[in-house]
């Protein structure tokens, strides 16, 4: 392969060898000398006063090294966990931020809340002793549903928020929306629940913290998506440690989907405890702990209304959402149902006015935060369910109603803050209609009817805002952190290259895609490039990976550093070839004097930089090593069209997805194979949300009913069809690679497409997600009875 065609090539992943042969190095694989093991005592109650904790028996159990409780942390002045985004409410008041202690103080607020840590010589001993920690609980009534949190007499989760309300927040022009609704020819209204999900990364959360008495420093290995942010939050806000004395390493991480963005209590407690006992403390979650204590996703109750003129042209949209925050504010919880949700409600359409009001509530459930898509699947669900329902009500073809309302000229300023730079929605929809053979659907439906089966077709034309974010915009919206990315290109004397990136890969394949970008830009073999990530002692700085931002922001930071390398290389080459710097161009891996055959290979220039015998030392430093920080000018706006076809067995309520087409616009694509894998995974998670996954807390007791795979249904390979995927490219206009990001698209578009197909098959306006066989059977039965 020619070195300059790496971008766009379906190169097999560099990571696969180690992942597929068990040679990866995950946090739980890290073994330290004098290792100890931790087990967290967790609340079995959804809501309980902690009257006393007796740790005597546990301390005497075999192998126990230490037991700590909330009192110990309070005495040591360990702070609670911070929330990284301040939302200001409709009255200009800051959101309520009740303390989130790292070990419960006074009260436990959800099943799984961390109450004490037991540290022992072995995992088994820690677990055995944890059962001996006697916690005297006084059970209190619990509230778990978002819709119940503000009801009169609801149990109060935090005294600081007596009505269980974190904030009531609004976006858009309410008066203009009300006016448009008053004059509309047709209104479509839907009320629905966006179901709560449990993330389920294949590697459970884990931490292994050690303290060095020699230099009063700490090292924390942790399964995390952004080690620098973890370190910043932990040192500056919680433990009050000097940032430079803490090294955080996120080694190989087995999936995150958002759930490993956050600073968790367990990470802090293990780090703090490692100094107390002067030994490394390792904790690896059991799957049951993942279910109860990882940050969950979604959990909205929404009323959505769309106003149209007589031709189905959208006039206004009004959305009212109650979002469940869980018992405490997780790191980015507050911005998910606001900044990453309401801003997306324009979708792909020219709806001139939109108003969205979001009420965030506390409940006795695990904290809720970003989960693949994070706000954007919820927004797409609102928009695309409304649009499809409107089409049915107005007897318009679902593609036609969308075409009548598509945004066609760019840049486009939406009424909900975002400025779309580019897109071509007709291109993805047109292609999807072809690939899905929508024209042949009536015949397929008739054939299915002969077999007693119901077929349905559903569309979702989604948009997302990725590549988050311009730091100044995010800051104005309440972010307490910057959202740039950093990269460093270290060229070795022999022309080999190590690249250090602040992005973090936990399954995305950055070691391959980023290397493709570097090899392509430098014109060197991909084997000559290594990508390093996930270690605060190696990486300049990093804001990490979430929101499909890695290639758009992290990739661009690398490109900026590469540009500096080439610029310096030109100076060196000009000196070596006794030419003017302006006459040097860099192409195909060589510095060439324009219009001549004189050239210096990349490795010749790098060697000169490190062996500067013939070198302009008076004008130039030796070495070839460049850094760059990149703060994006705008979000990127991936978009696409998904079409789902389902077949329902009305006798049992069983549903099968018989066809799923996804045509996406991710801008420029670096590695189509990896992109396709991301789309497959995202679609599967989206289908999971629609049909199988539902996190269910018992409304009375607050117990997590779906606390294992016996009851929580992750989609499996036989739940999904062979996807038909394709791409259309409109390059992003504001980053040098033209990239937009692809990690979340599948999970964003699929739920609406599936549910639109299912409601089409059943002829019912709505059915609750996850649409399990039981729910579908009941809908079929009710339809039959009504008929």
């Amino acid at each position: 392969m020619s070195a300059t065609t790496y971008i766009g090539a379906a190169i097999k992943r560099k990571e696969d060898y180690r992942f597929l042969t068990g040679a990866g190095n995950y946090t739980d694989d890290v073994a330290m000398p004098h290792q100890t093991y931790a087990c967290f005592v967790r609340s079995p109650h959804a809501h309980a006063k902690i009257r006393a904790i007796n740790k005597d028996k546990a301390l005497k159990a075999p192998g126990v090294v230490a037991v700590f409780t909330g009192d110990d942390l309070a005495a040591a002045k360990v702070n609670g966990l911070p929330c990284g985004w301040l939302i200001t409410d409709v009255n200009g008041q800051p959101m309520k931020e009740p303390p989130h202690p790292c070990l419960a103080q006074g009260k436990a607020r959800y099943v799984g809340d961390h109450v004490a840590i037991v540290i022992a010589e072995s995992v088994q001993q820690a677990r055995d002793a944890a059962e001996l920690v006697k916690v005297d609980y006084q059970e209190l009534p619990a509230v778990v549903r978002a819709g119940d949190a503000r009801k009169k007499g609801a149990p109060v989760v935090h005294d600081q928020a007596p009505d269980n309300t974190c904030y009531v927040w609004g976006l858009g022009d309410k008066a203009a929306v009300d006016k448009a609704f008053a004059g509309a020819a047709h209104l479509t209204t839907l009320e629905f629940i966006n179901n709560r999900l449990v993330p389920n990364a294949i590697e459970p959360r884990a931490a292994n913290a050690s303290y060095s008495r020699a230099d009063d420093s700490y090292t924390l290995y942790v399964a995390n998506q952004n080690p620098h942010v973890e370190r910043l939050l932990m040192t500056a806000f919680v433990l009050g440690l000097p940032e430079h004395k803490v090294r955080v390493v996120a080694p190989d991480v087995g999936g995150g989907f958002g759930s490993k963005i956050y600073l968790y209590a367990e990470d802090v407690v293990c780090t703090w405890a490692s100094k107390q006992i002067n030994r490394p403390v390792k904790w690896t979650a059991e799957r049951s702990e993942s279910f109860t204590s990882d940050a969950h996703g979604r959990d909205h109750v929404t009323k959505a209304e769309l106003a149209m003129d007589k031709d189905g042209k959208f006039l206004a949209m009004r959305v009212t959402t109650t979002a469940n925050m869980g018992a405490y504010l997780s790191t980015f919880a507050s911005c998910i149902p606001t900044i990453l949700y309401a801003t997306l409600l324009a979708g792909q359409y020219t709806t001139p006015v939109i108003y969205c009001e979001v009420t965030a509530v506390f409940t006795n459930t695990a904290p809720v935060d970003a989960y693949r898509g994070a706000g954007r699947p919820e927004a797409t669900y609102v928009v695309e369910r409304l649009v499809e329902t409107a089409a049915r009500e107005m007897k318009l073809n679902p593609a036609e109603i969308r075409r009548r309302n598509f945004i066609k000229t760019f840049p486009y300023q939406t009424p909900v803050a975002l400025l779309y730079d580019t897109g071509n929605y007709e291109a993805t929809l047109g292609e999807a209609l072809k690939v899905a053979d929508v024209a042949g659907f009536p015949a397929r439906k008739a054939e299915a009817a002969k077999r007693g089966k119901l077929r349905g077709l559903g569309f979702a034309c989604y948009i997302e805002a990725c590549g988050i974010a311009p730091s100044n915009v995010a800051g104005a919206l309440g972010a307490r952190a910057g959202l740039f990315e950093a990269g460093e290109v270290r060229v070795h004397p022999t022309g080999k290259v190590t690249v250090f990136t602040g992005s973090h890969a936990h399954g995305q394949g950055h070691e391959t895609t980023f290397a493709q970008v570097v090899a392509d830009r430098l014109g060197i073999p991909i084997e000559d490039v290594d990508i390093v990530h996930g270690d605060t002692s190696k990486i300049l700085f990093g804001m990490g990976t979430y929101g499909s931002r890695s290639i758009a922001v992290g990739g661009t930071a690398i490109v900026k550093a590469l540009d500096k390398v080439v610029a310096k290389g030109k100076k060196i080459a000009a000196h070596l070839m006794e030419a003017a710097e302006a006459d040097i161009e860099f192409r195909d891996g060589a510095f060439v004097v324009k219009g001549t055959d004189k050239k210096k290979a990349f490795a010749e220039v790098s060697l000169a930089a490190y062996v500067p015998h013939n070198y302009p030392l008076d004008k130039l430093e030796p070495g070839l090593n460049e850094n760059a920080f990149y703060d994006p000018a705008n979000f990127t706006f991936p978009a696409g069209s998904h079409i789902c076809e389902v077949e329902v067995d009305p006798d049992t309520g069983n549903v099968r997805i018989v066809n799923f087409t996804a045509i996406d616009d991710f801008g420029k694509i670096i590695n189509p194979m990896i992109v396709e894998g991301q789309v497959h995974g995202g679609l599967t998670q989206g289908i999971g949300q629609a049909l199988t996954e539902g996190c269910h807390y018992d409304a009375e007791s607050g117990q997590l009913v779906t606390g294992s795979y016996l009851d929580y249904c992750l989609p499996r390979a036989d739940d999904v069809p062979a996807f038909k995927v394709g791409t259309k490219e409109t390059p992003c206009t504001h980053n040098p690679l033209g990239v937009k990001g692809c990690g979340e698209a599948g999970a964003i578009g699929a739920p609406a497409a599936v549910m639109n197909a299912l409601t089409d098959a059943l002829g019912t306006p709505d059915i609750e997600m996850p649409a399990t066989p039981q729910r579908i059977w009941r809908a079929c039965r009710d339809m039959k009875r009504a008929a």
């Binding site: 088994q124 677990r127 055995d128 049951s288 006798d651 049992t652 309520g653 069983n654 199988t692 269910h696 009913v705 779906t706 795979y709 016996l710 009851d711 929580y712 249904c713 992750l714 739940d719 399990t772 066989p773 039981q774 059977w777 009941r778």
Partner: protein, 265 residues
């Protein structure tokens, strides 16, 4: 997992002696339920008595009338057995649909019947075919074996050695799976035996049970329409997040009809 004693025994007698003496000791067959429960700290046996090295507890024999399966025979062996496929194809298919590949390679017929999980498949097969459970002490008809939720007729120190299935004229098993666990929400085994029809249901109640009304209808005509409109009362059926009792009752009729359809095909 809590600490426990592990004992490997050479004979059923030795195992029986241990469990007769120690009520907290547990027999380990394939371990697909017991080990999982122990890992979750839901089971805390004092001692685990491993039947794995007892000779003669595993294997399949078929004569003109019966299929006899040793208690330690793995589900995968039954599923793959050419003899079983020929004699009672429905039983091979049932075994091939238990759990997943790993469960089928480890789990045993004796373990499954002795555990009597309310959603296990084998109890429906044993009851539907009118099998006989042979223990170290006696022979127990399937009709007398399943007593309730995880409860069987097995007494103190009693261990299953083999299961004898009479070969029916035709039979079939239809299972509607829990989408999450893939256990039976409702599984119906129907058999047209030499002496009438049998219909056994698993997943729907505390343990497998027969449906007399369907058996009677099938005895006069073994055809799908015979059971299509027979409904089972929802009272006493399991009711949970995945399937309330009324849905299970409905599914029994649908699965019974489909099972008969498959049996007569």
């Amino acid at each position: 997992m809590y600490a426990f004693e592990y004992q490997k025994v050479k004979s059923v007698d030795d195992a029986a002696k241990i469990i007769a003496k120690d009520p907290d000791a547990k027999v380990l067959a394939g371990g697909q339920s017991l080990i999982a429960a122990m890992k979750l700290r839901l089971a805390k046996p004092s001692s685990v008595v491993d039947l794995g090295s007892i000779k003669g507890l595993s294997g399949i024999k078929v004569d003109g009338k019966n299929v006899t399966i040793g208690a330690m025979t793995r589900h995968a062996e039954v599923a793959a057995s050419a003899d079983v496929k020929k004699a009672i194809p429905a039983l091979a298919a049932l075994a091939g649909g238990i759990g997943d590949r790993m469960v089928r390679n480890m789990g045993t017929i004796g373990g499954s019947l002795a555990n009597n999980d309310p959603a296990a498949d084998y109890p429906a097969g044993a009851l539907g075919l009118g099998a006989t459970v042979v223990t170290n002490k006696r022979k127990i008809a399937a009709d007398d074996f399943f007593k309730g939720l995880y409860e069987t007729a097995l007494g103190k120190g009693e261990i299953i050695e083999q299961v004898v299935f009479p070969i029916p004229k035709r039979a079939a098993y239809m299972k509607f799976k829990n989408p999450a666990s893939r256990y039976a929400i409702v599984g119906v085994f129907v058999a047209d035996t030499g002496s009438g029809a049998r219909v056994a249901v698993t997943g729907a109640g505390p343990c497998a049970f027969r449906v007399a009304a369907m058996e009677k209808a099938l005895a006069s005509k073994f055809a799908p329409e015979s059971v299509a409109s027979i409904s089972v009362p929802e009272k006493g059926l399991n009711s949970d997040l995945h399937a309330k009792a009324d849905y299970r009752a409905h599914l029994i009729t649908v699965m019974a009809r489909r099972a008969v359809e498959a049996a007569v095909k």
